[in-house]
């Protein structure tokens, strides 16, 4: 999409499994609520049973997109590259967003590990500029630590806002 080659590095492949799991955790309550509401509607005879079943099924299927194929699409389209002068992030399957953050503008950098991420040995790298934070999600622990250290080394600390 641009004249500059897209960023080179991909996220850790285990990210797909992680996202699938968190997609499942998100979809389960939605499915339960949908079934309960549908059952309730049938009980008070507001809608016929097939219609209620269809609504519950559609809602459950929509929530299940978070398990498949969304994580795969997300992973396939997430790219990043930590260059000498800039951090280059590209993500999104439907809407592609490419963000470039100059090293000189980065104020500090974190690695973050949630409870689920820890199970998979994954970590996120979060970059902070004066205009907000950007995240590289789901890198292997070792890779994330190296990325964090590299960014911290390259980021210019003397810059005034």
């Amino acid at each position: 999409m641009s004249t500059k080659p897209p960023p080179r590095d991909r996220l850790d492949p285990r990210a797909r499994t992680l996202w699938r799991l968190s997609g499942l955790l998100g979809a389960l309550p939605v499915a339960l609520v949908a079934v309960a509401v549908a059952a309730g509607l049938v009980r008070i005879a507001l809608v016929p049973t097939p219609v209620a079943a269809a609504i519950a099924l559609v809602v459950t299927l929509a929530a299940a997109v978070g398990i498949w194929p969304y994580p795969d699409l997300l992973w396939r389209h997430w790219r990043y590259e930590i260059g000498e002068a800039e951090v280059d992030l590209q993500r999104g399957w439907w809407t592609t967003t490419r963000t470039l953050i100059p090293m000189a503008r980065i104020q500090h950098v974190d690695t973050r590990r949630g409870p689920l991420q820890r199970r998979f040995g994954l970590a996120s790298v979060v970059l902070y500029t004066a205009a907000g934070a950007s995240e590289i999600p789901a890198l292997a622990d070792q890779v994330a630590a190296e990325a964090r250290d590299r960014i911290a080394r390259l980021a210019n600390v003397n810059d005034d806002l």
Binding site: M1, S2, T3, K4, A85, E86, W94, T95, T96, T97, R98, T99, L100, I101, P102, M103, A104, R105, T129, A130, A131, G132, S134, D160, L161
Partner: protein, 526 residues
């Protein structure tokens, strides 16, 4: 030397903070007094008296516990009745020091002082001293500035001059004069004619809404329901003539209120340059004085509201890391200028931002993007119509075609989109500044030096990909929400070239945006 021993605010603070607390309860109090006078109220009044007494004691203690000092290169504030709270602000983190003066403060012979820090838009990160004597406020301002100068290196001695000039006797001038207001070289002062014009074209409806909602609330609380019912019964309220009159009265009243509130807010607006700082002072009743370090300005934007466009008028604002969006006027550099005067004004006030804003020098999005702007702004109404039709089909008392009503607004959306397309444009000038213009109801031109950009982005959805278009975005550090720049539906090669040219690796080079066809072949990244 720049230290300041621990001290308290002026005792008037007790009164001021009590008033502040009472203001929130004004309407219940009025209702209580109007509707009072029945038996059994004595106990209630006694309870109220005790509460007021306790409140006064608590305010007094709070005043006693609140101390501030300047030492060790920091402004240190200690406060809190039970839980002690300490806040240390390093002087080099101080973005600006504002002096405010409400009529009440003037009556009590004190001024308010607010220290803005770089920690973002929330007022919680700032230090507010609501009651200082003029002399104390001057002293603190001077110490803060001197400490900051010592911490950040070379600085002009302008600060001292500011403090020594600020001794004008209050009341000696037609306008109230905040401490140190006359320091520095005058860049521009608003004339009464400009002030009136600014009010007439401001399009501010917030003050009118506030007044009307207050009036309705008061009417609801105080006027007996019987009267309102009788008014409704007689039908005078609901005849066509009645409705038209009401609308007319509200519109004209709102317009007059907008003029009055603009005059009160920006009356006597004066911008001075004092070395590396700008001093803006404004306000008829409440006199505010903002001190803006020029080096902290991230971006300057020139806004032309709908009513101002045909008259060639504009307001100039700035984005700075310290200021939030807590008040509407917080980022105003000058409330009204002729568009042609803007470059000269910027050259005097903030030369780093004095780029040409001539529309002829701006590259527009390609013509194939026009339909996208128009459709994007009309589409919400069509979506709304679809939803409304579905709802009307489902509910038993509805007719399906009632749901088409939102479509009546779609043409307005389309016109808005066409305005946006017409106004959008960009340029990258020889000094490495991005000039980006966006439109709609208000046309806004933003000027930002390349090195102030915190990030750039390129966004493309499949529909844009098919038409080889992309949306360019960028962000500067900002306390408020105004720190983002978006240029929708540029040619994808142009947008990618823009992202590349604004990056740190590229040299400062001029790009003449002569047109989409030549731009598409930008050799820079090829």
């Amino acid at each position: 030397m720049p230290d300041l021993s621990p001290r308290r605010q002026h005792p008037a603070w007790i009164f001021l903070s009590a008033i502040q607390q009472l203001r929130g309860m004004a309407i219940p109090l009025v209702v209580l007094l109007v509707g009072g006078g029945r038996r059994g109220d004595e106990a209630f009044l006694a309870l109220g008296g005790v509460a007021v007494l306790l409140g006064a004691v608590a305010r007094g203690l709070a005043w006693w516990r609140f101390r501030y000092e300047v030492s060790g290169g920091e402004l240190r504030v200690r406060s809190g009745l039970l839980a002690q709270r300490e806040r240390f602000v390093p002087l080099e983190r101080v973005q600006a020091v504002d002096v405010n003066e409400t009529p009440l403060q003037r009556l009590l012979g004190v001024v308010g002082l607010r220290v803005e820090t770089a920690a973002g838009g929330s007022a919680a990160s700032d230090v507010t001293l609501a009651a200082l004597s003029r002399a104390e406020a001057d002293l603190l301002r001077q110490r803060l500035a001197r400490g900051r100068a010592a911490a950040t290196g070379p600085a002009p001695d302008a600060v001292g001059a500011g403090a020594s000039d600020g001794t004008a006797a209050p009341g000696a001038l037609p306008l109230p004069v905040a401490a140190g207001e006359t320091a520095g070289e005058l860049i521009r002062r608003i004339t009464p004619g400009e002030l009136l014009l600014a009010g007439m074209t401001s399009g501010r409806i917030a003050p009118a809404l506030a007044v009307f909602s207050f009036a309705f609330q008061l009417a609801d609380d105080v006027v007996p329901d019987r009267w309102l019912e009788r008014l409704a019964m007689t039908g005078t309220l609901w005849s066509i003539r009645g409705v038209l009159t009401l609308v007319g009265v509200i519109a004209i009243g709102g317009w007059l209120l907008a003029i009055a509130s603009t005059a009160l807010t920006f009356g006597g607006f004066e911008l001075r340059r004092d070395g590396e700082r700008l001093q803006a002072s404004y306000g008829l009743l409440e006199r505010r004085r903002r001190s803006i370090p020029i080096g902290r300005i991230q971006a300057v934007s020139i806004g032309e509201g709908l009513l101002r466009q045909p008259l060639g008028l504009a307001a100039v604002r700035f984005e700075s890391a310290g200021y939030g969006t807590d008040t509407a006027e917080s980022g105003v550099l000058f409330p009204l200028l002729r568009r042609g005067e803007v470059p000269a004004f910027l050259a005097a006030a903030a030369p780093a931002f004095a780029a040409s804003i001539d529309p002829a020098g701006l590259a527009p999005p390609p013509p194939r993007a026009r339909g996208r702007y128009v459709v994007a702004d009309a589409l919400p109404f069509a979506t709304l119509a679809v939803v409304a039709v579905v709802v009307m089909v489902v509910v038993p008392w509805g007719r399906w075609w009632w749901g088409l009503a939102p479509l009546a607004l779609a043409p307005f959306g389309a016109v808005h989109g066409w305005f946006r397309f017409r106004d959008t444009g960009w340029a990258l000038d020889g000094a490495g500044r991005l000039v980006a213009r966006g439109g709609g109801v208000e046309r806004r031109t933003t000027i930002v030096p390349r090195r102030r950009l915190q990030r750039r982005s390129l966004v493309q959805n499949p529909l844009q990909r098919r038409a080889a278009l992309a949306t360019f975005g960028a962000a500067v550090a900002s306390g408020g929400g105004g720190g983002t720049i978006t240029l929708e539906h540029l040619d994808e090669g142009v947008a990618a070239g823009l992202v590349g040219q604004l990056g740190p690796a590229s040299a400062d080079q001029a790009v003449s945006p002569s047109g989409p066809t030549t731009e598409a072949a930008t050799p820079h990244l090829a």
